[in-house]
Amino acid sequence: MNVPDYIIPLIVAIPLLGAFLTPLVSRINDKLRNIFVIIVLALNAVLVFLLASDILTTGIKTYVFGAKDLSYPIVRILFEVDAMSIFMAIISSILVLVAVVYSWSFMEKNTGLDKYYTLILLLTAGMLGMVLTGDMFNFFVFLEITSIASCALIAFWIHRGESVEAGFKYIVISAMGALFVLFAVALLYGQYNALNIALLSSVIQYTFLDKIALVLLIVALAMKAGIVPMHMWLPDSYGSAPSSISIILVSATLASLYGVFRVIFTLYGNVLSNIANFGIPVNVFIGWLIVALAMVSILIGVIMALIQTDFKRLIAYGAVAELGYMFLGIGAGITALGTAYGKTALDGGIFHIINDALDVGLLFLVAGAIYYATKETSLDKLGGLARNMKYTTVFFVIGLLAVAGMPPLNGFASKLLIYESTFQLNPILAIVAILSSILLLAVFVKVFYSAFMGPQLPKFKDVKEVPKSMLFSMGVIACIIVIFGLFPEVIINNIVEPAANALIGYSEYISQVVAGGI
């Protein structure tokens, strides 16, 4: 299906316009504002899907701001959308839409909601901009928009000291990370006089300064993605933000993860097969580094999740472990670049991105539902909720099984791809991965027991099921999880496979811009 080119900037511009209109609409009526925000995001999601269907059939699309064509690409700001970008855009738009529908009832009793929705829309614009842009500096700008908006949202419940503290931690980490990114961009600009990813990628030399830039970019973006050992902020902010924000934060971290992939695969794509120090190719070096980080993330995430007593912090540590699985798949894919199992690992890693977003997102929504119903997140004080909250229980079980990678849900489909490829790199990797996923199951069964099972507590006797809008949004995600789990082939062939090909096929990404210009 062919769509006009200007749909690409609209995907970022519409949430931006919506963000600034929200305070004005909010003057009229609160309900109207909620409807307005949902309509804006739904419209945006439709545009993303239209664009996706176009990109997946016809290939990469570029859009230049304020100019007719690609002449002088050095000074133009351009968006370059390939299958990987649109894959991430789909995740973000689905999660944000779900979160906004969920917020309708969840945030009902809060004040200052016009700012809340404005920030959500800004965050959406930032995330979508990060994944769609084809320009390093532009990427930095959107990164900062995302950080600022998410920090303000993390600290939204400003009456709680923990929220403010988590927000401060988050903004320190992300400000530092963003400045690292800017410094790396400056290093690249100073050498090659270009900011465009495709242009930079076509001329990159892997000089000493490039190595510094690569390290800075990976460290900064991995820090924002919450990989161990830079994960300290993640449980705090996920745990202290309102649940509807936690799910958006999941997709914001994933946008940073996308940045890591874009940098390694596209920006440094040309030099990946160079021989670095000690006669090891660059891709093997980077790949093993990422695999090592991934293993540590998986283990630390699971072990720390075991000892948590707060529902949301526990899920957040689960999310750290899940991040490890993505990095494991991608890292194995980089290490074994060009082999069949490397491709499978890459597929698995990319497929796990969307699965993790859905699974962890669903768990956060369930945690939010429990908080809404009981005003409690400590697992020690919860119990016996399965009697009164039947639907929430079912959704939690779906999320639990999906996170632990049990068949027939989506987590299994992607983890299977990761297992059956990484063991060829080294059997220990797959063994630890399988085991950790079983441990994760144990962790969540513990949660299930302490929150939903057990005798009925007297103070939760009158707990009611949560309102329909929250049930609806949880139900939507649960449905997607089950569908993805039952028909993984469809998703892999239609969305994941093109995304993996887009990552590997960096030369195509370059040729879209460089052939037209310079």
Partner: protein, 114 residues
Amino acid sequence: MIYNIPYLAVAALILLGLYALIFKRNLIKMVIGITLIESGVNLFLITLGYRKESIAPIYTSSPGGIMSFPVPQALTLTSIVIGVAVIALMLSLVMHIYRHYGTLDARETRRLKE
């Protein structure tokens, strides 16, 4: 040598900022650390665009001669604008932390542990 002084200043600023960020316990000082890093990066960007004996890149009424690169200046301006927002946000959060905890010591404002 004289042309390397800005780069040395960049390194000094960034290292100072990192020092403040890592070793200082006062939250305001941490914010200052971030601003120092930011200034360092901005200075680096501006320095990249400088050419020897150049004039400001303004076309109207220009005295003629070589101009310095306008792109890094535009980048720096954008970065400064973003910096203002980040610092404002940080300072307001520090204010709220002070209201909740009654102290600015990072060691004591730690309810979120583990």
